[in-house]
Subunit: 145 residues, 12 copies
C-alpha cells in the first residue's frame, strides 16, 4: 500500500507556531513517526508540504494511479478551497482529512471544511497522533468511497 | 486504563438500519472487536447503549473517578444536546467523539455537533473502525483536555 | 393490518391543556374513536403515549416486524428530534405524521418538522379527526416509502 | 354540503409529469374518484384546474356564499402567492391545503407554504388519496376557522 | 393631468374582506371619492382592478404616453412581483405606491415591497384616504423620477 | 385640531445637505408652507427640530393631552430607536411617519423603520410635500390607532 | 403557598462542575438554603432534580392542582426543549425561570431560552441566590400569568 | 429541429425600455435575426411573448411532442416562479435559459433563478446575441437533460 | 452599601403607559417602595430617570467610587446601546439589569440586550418587584464581576 | 481578433474526472475544437491551463494590450477568488465566463460566482460547446464592458 | 489648516477604563500630544468630548465652513448611529475615523461601523498614536471625498 | 528597525488599474516614497509584490527573526485567506494591514478582512499615504501584539 501525506500552508512552522495549540513537535518529527509506523504496518509513504494551493492541487492530481490513499491536512485551505475539493474527486484516490487541533473548538470559520464532504473521513484534535490514526485507517478500512 | 464506550439512540439497530450508510456490522460485533483490541493494548472497557438522553447524561456523570476516557457516539443527540455537552465538561473525563458515517457528507443538520466543541477530538467516517481509532487515541495520546 | 399510534409529550393532558388550541377531547376519547374506526375498516391498533423521547424511539424501533404502519404525533419533539427521525428510517415502518392543531399557523419554531422529511405524509390541523384521516390513509394508500 | 376543488399550475399534466414523484393517475382520474366519494358521503363538488394565478384568485373569491369549503392544491403558487393567501381570507370559506407529494421531503423552497398559515389544515404526501382525506375532513370536521 | 389608478388582487372584495383591517368602504366607494376629488383638482382619472398579474403589467405598459402618473395598489403582488417592478421602469410613467393598511405593522412578509424601490414614493396606512393623498401628490409634486 | 410636527437630526441642515437627495428647500421653508396650509384647513401647529434622541422622546411624551396628532420625521433615529417607538405608544397620540426621500430606494439600513410598526401610517418620497400630505391625513382621517 | 423547585441535567454535580462558573455550592446546599428561607416566608417547597427531559415534563404536568408556582432551572434543556415549554403552558402553573450563571454572557446558544417566552419571569446570574430571589417573587408577586 | 422561443413580461417593450441596460433592438428585431439564423442552420422556430405567467406555463406544457427544445427568457418571472420551473420539468422538453443583460451584475434579487436548476444551461449578458447562442446550442449540443 | 438606581426613557410615564403590560404603579411608587426596602436592609439609594442616553452614560461613569452597585433599567436603550455597555465596564461598578415586563415574551427585537453581557445578572418580568429583587441581590450577593 | 482562453484548476484532468458531470472530452480535445472554430471565424487564440490562482491572475494581467477578449473557466476559483475578479477589472480586457456543467444545478456553493459580476456575460451548462459559444460571442458581440 | 477632533462616549474615562484594552494614557494626554504635533505640522486643532450623540451631531454640523477636516472617534456610537453618518455627509467636511483599539479583533458587533462608509478613511488599533496618524493624514492627503 | 512591506495580487498594476479608485501612483512610486520616508525615520525596508498567495505566505514565514514588523496589503486575498492569517500568527512578527481605498465603502465582500483580527491595526482609505502612516506606526508604536 502506497500513501501520500500532504501538508498545507504553515505546517512547515510546526513546533514554533502557536505551541499552546499545535504542540512542540515539528513536521520532521511527524514524518519520522509516520515513516516508522508505516514500516511496521507494511505501507510505503510519501510526505510533502507546500504553502501553495496550486501545488497541493497538482500533487493530488498526480497521485492517481501512483498512490492508494491520501492523508491530507490542508490547514488554512481547508475552509475555502473548492479547487482542492475538486482535485480529490477528480483524482479518485480515497482521501482522509486530518487536523492536529480540534477545529470544531476554535474560531467559527474553522468549523466549515470544504474537504470533509468528499473525504473518506475526518480525524481531528489528537495532535500528531491524528496522522497515525489516519495511517491505520488507510491500512485497515476498505477505503473505496 | 479504563475506557467507557457510550452509544446513543438507534445504534442498537446497527446492521439492519440503512446498511448502505452504516454497513452490516452489528453493535455486538463492534463491542467484540473493541474488547479484543482493548485486550491487545492493555485497556479495560465498558460498552453501553441507550436511546435515552438522560441515561447517557447520567452515565457520563458517573464516569468521573471510574474511567480515564470516554468514547462517545451520541448519534442523533450529537446535533442538539446541550445536556450531553454540559455532562462532558462536568465529568472532567476526556471524551472522544466518534461516528460511523461521515457526518460532514450528509444532511446539513448533521454537520453541527454540540459535542465536538468540548471533546478531545473527533473521528468520523470510518465505519466501525472509527471506534478502534478512538481506542488507540485514548491509549496513545496525552488526553488531558 | 396492524397500526401503532404513538403520542408524544403533553398529549396526555389533552382536554385540559389550552382548549382554545387543542379542543376539549381527551386522549382517551381519541383512542376510543380510533379503536371504533379501526374496527370498521378492519385494522388492529396499539395506542400509546409517553413524555419520554427515548421511550418513543424504542417503541418505533420495536415496531419493526410487528406493525404495518405508525401514526406519530411527536408533539414537542417534532421540531428538534434527530433521534426520532433516525428511528423511523431505521425501523423501516411507513410512518404518518399527525398534529391536532395547524402547526403552520403558530409560532415560527413549530413550522419546522424533523419528522416530515422521512414520513410518508403529514396531516395537520383537523383536531382529533387528523388521527382518523391518518388511519384511513394507512389502510387505503400503498404505504411503501 | 358544497365543495370547491381547485388545482393549480401543471396539475393538468398529472400522469405524464414526473411519474416517480406524482404517480400515473391523471387529474381526470382524481376528479372521478372524488365525485364517487362525494356521492357516497352526500356532498356536491365542483372541480377545476388553472395555470393562472389570477384565475385561481377569482375562483376563490367567487366561492363566497356558493361553497361550504375549498380544497386547494395550489401547486407551484403554494410557495410564493400572497394573492391566494389574501383571497382565502377574503372569501371567508374554510380551505384545506392538499399536496400529492410530501412537500416537506423535497427541495427547500417547497417547504414554505404561503397558504398553510390561513388554511384550516394541510394534507400532504398521500398521492391522490390526499384529496379523499381532505373531502372527508370537509364533511366530518367543524370547519369554522 | 391624466392619472391611472390600478388596483391589484382581492381589492374588488373591499368592504366585505377583513373589515377590521380594511374598513367597510367598497372599491366603488373609493373610485367615487377619487373621481370627485380629481374633478376638484382638475385631473382626469382611469380606475381599474384586476386579480391578474399579467393584466396589471400590461396596463402599466400601455400607460406610456397616455397617462402622466400611476397610482398603484398592487396588493398581494407588492411583495414578490419583479414583473410589476420592471413594467414601472419600462413604462417611464411616475408611479406612487399606496396601501390601505399599514403594511409595516402586519406580517413580516408584507414589509418588503418590490415596488417601492422604483416608485416615486409610498403612502401607507390611511385607509381609502391613502388614495386621495396620492392623487394630491400627483398634482402637486414634480413627479419626475 | 392641534398638531405637533417633530424633526430629527440633521433636518436643520435641509437645503444645504445633499440637495440631490433632499432638494433645496430649507426647514424654515417647510415650516412656513405647513403653517400656511394648517391655516387653510383650520389646524394649529407646533414645529420643532432637535438632533437629540432624548429631546425628541420628551417632546413626544409631553404631547399627551396637548396635541391631537404628531407628524414625525425621525431622520437617522428612524432606523434604530426603540425609545422613540416606546414614546409614541406611551403618549397615546396618533403619529404619522414622514420622510422627504424615498427611504425604500436607498441604502438597505434605511429600509427598516422602528417607527412604522406603531405609527398610524407612513408617507415617504414626496420631498417637503410629504409633510403637507401628512397634515391633510391628520385632519381628514379618523386617526384612532 | 406550595412551590415546586425543579432542577435539570447536570445540576446534581453542582460544586464540582466548572466551579469558576457555577461556584462551590452543592445542590444540597441550595435545597437547604431554600428550605430555610421558605420556612421564614411561610411557604412549603418540594425540591427535585433529574437528568431526564421526560421526567421533568411529567413533574411539571403533575404540579397542576398541587403547587402554586414552579421554580425551574432547566439547565441544558432550556435552550431546545419545546416539550418543557408546552408542559408549562399545559400545567397552567405560574413558572419562574432561574439560572445560576449569567446565560447572556456565555456561548451564543445559551442566550436563547425556549422557556422564557412562557415563564412569568427570569432570574439569571446570581449564583444560588437566584433561587432565593425566585422564591421571594413567588410569595410577593401576583403570579397569575 | 423545432424550437420554441418564449419571452416573458416586459420584453415586448424592448428597444424603448431602459436602453442603457437592454439596448435599442426591439423584440421584432430579435425575432427576425433568429428566424434568419434558424433558416441558416436548418431549424424551425416559433417565437412568442406574454406578460402572463399562466400563459407561459401553458405554452411550455403544450410544447411536449411539438418542439425539440425551448429557449426561455422568463424575464421578471425568472426569479420567483415555481410554476414555470415545474412546467419545464413536466414538459420534458430541454430548455435553455437566456437573458439579454448580465443578471449577475445587477440587483441582488436578480441573481437567483428558479429556472436555472432545471434548465440545460444558461446564457446571460450578450444582448440579443444571447438568443443566437442559445439557438446554436439547441442545434449543436446533445440536449438530453 | 450605596446603590444607584437608573431608569431609562419613558419610564417616567409608568402608570399611564400601556398599563396592560407595565401595570398602574408609577415610578414614584417604585422609588418609595425601594426606599422603604433599602431602609429595612440597611442600604442607601439614589434614584434617577432620564430619557437621554448620554445622561445615563454620564451617571454610570460618575458612580465610580460613589456607589457599590447599579440597578439599571435601560428601557428602550437596552437593545441597541453600546455606549451604555461600555460605560458599565468603564465604571467598574457591578450592575444588575432589571425589566418590569418579561422582555423574552414580547417583540423579537426586545430579546437582545446589549447590557446583559456585561451585567452581574438580569431580573425580568416581575413588575416593580423586579427592582426589589435586584436590591436584595445587591445586598446579599458578592457582586464582584 | 486575438482571444486568450484560460482554464483553471483540475480542468487538465477533463475526460477522466467525473465523466457523468463533465463528459469524456479532454482539454486537448476542447483546444483542438476551438482552434478549428477560431480558424473558421478568423480569430487567433491562445489556450492555457493552470492549477495556480496566482498564475491565472498574472496571465489575465498580461493580456492587456495583447488580447481583445478573455474566455475564462476559473473552475474552483470561480466561487471565492477576489484576486481573479480584480485582475479582470484591472486588465480592462472584456472577459466571458464559461462553465462546462450547469453550476446552478449543483451544490449551493457553486451557485455564487465572484467572476460573473465583472464579466461581459456567462455561458454555463453546454459541455465543451460552452467554449464555442463564448468564442462566437467574442467575435459577434461588441464586447466593450 | 483647522482640524476638529471629536471624541464620543466614555473616552473621558481613558486611562482608568479597561487599561488592558485602551492603555493608561488619558484623554488629556492625547489632547496634549496632538496639540504638540499639530504645532509641528502647522495645523490648528479643536479637541472635544461628549457622551451625547446629539451633541456630537451638532458639533459635526457646525464644523461646516469652520474646519477643514474632522477626526472622529465615535466610540460606542460608531456601530449604530445613522445620525452621525448623516451629519458627516451633511457637513461636507472630510472626516477620518479613528479607534484606539483594533475594533476588528473584538466582539462581533464592533466590527460594523456606520461611519466608515462615509469617512475618508479609517485608522484603528494603534492606541493614542491612531490620532497622530489621522492628523498627519489630514495634512498630507488631498482629503476631498 | 527592519520592515517588510508586502503587496498582494494586482497591486503591480497600480496606476493603470481603476485610477478613479486607486489613483495614478504606481507601485514603484510607492516604493520610492516609502524608501525616502524610511531613510528619514531611520528604518530599513524590504518591498515586494506577488500575485501568489503561497508566495506571500512564505515571505511572511521567512520574516521571523529578520524583520521587526510587516506592512501588508493583501489586496484580494484579504477577504478570504486563512493561510495568510495563520502565517501572520505563526511568524510572530507584528503586522499592520493597509489598503489604498476605503474598503468599508465598497462592495460588501470587501468589508470582511481575515487579516484584521490578527493584525496590530488597520489603515485604510488614504491612497499611497496609507503606507507612510503604517511606516510611522511601525516606528512609533510599541508593536507587541
Amino acid at each position: 500500500m502506497k500513501i501520500l501525506v500532504l501538508n498545507g500552508p504553515n505546517l512547515n512552522l510546526l513546533g514554533q507556531r502557536e505551541p499552546e495549540i499545535y504542540g512542540r513537535t515539528t513536521l520532521a518529527d511527524i514524518e519520522a513517526k509516520m515513516r516508522h509506523h508505516a514500516g511496521q504496518v507494511g505501507a510505503e509513504m510519501d510526505f510533502r508540504q507546500s504553502n501553495d494551493e496550486g501545488q497541493l492541487v497538482s500533487w493530488i492530481q498526480e497521485s492517481r494511479g501512483h498512490f492508494d490513499a491520501i492523508i491530507l491536512n490542508a490547514a488554512g485551505y481547508t475552509h475555502t478551497s473548492v479547487a482542492l475539493r475538486d482535485a480529490i474527486v477528480a483524482s479518485g484516490v480515497p482521501t482522509i482529512e486530518v487536523h492536529l487541533s480540534n477545529i470544531h473548538a476554535r474560531e467559527g470559520f474553522r468549523r466549515k471544511s470544504m474537504i470533509a464532504g468528499v473525504a473518506k473521513g475526518q480525524v481531528t484534535g489528537f495532535g500528531d497522533y491524528s496522522y497515525i490514526m489516519a495511517l491505520d485507517a488507510c491500512v485497515n478500512v476498505n477505503a473505496s468511497r
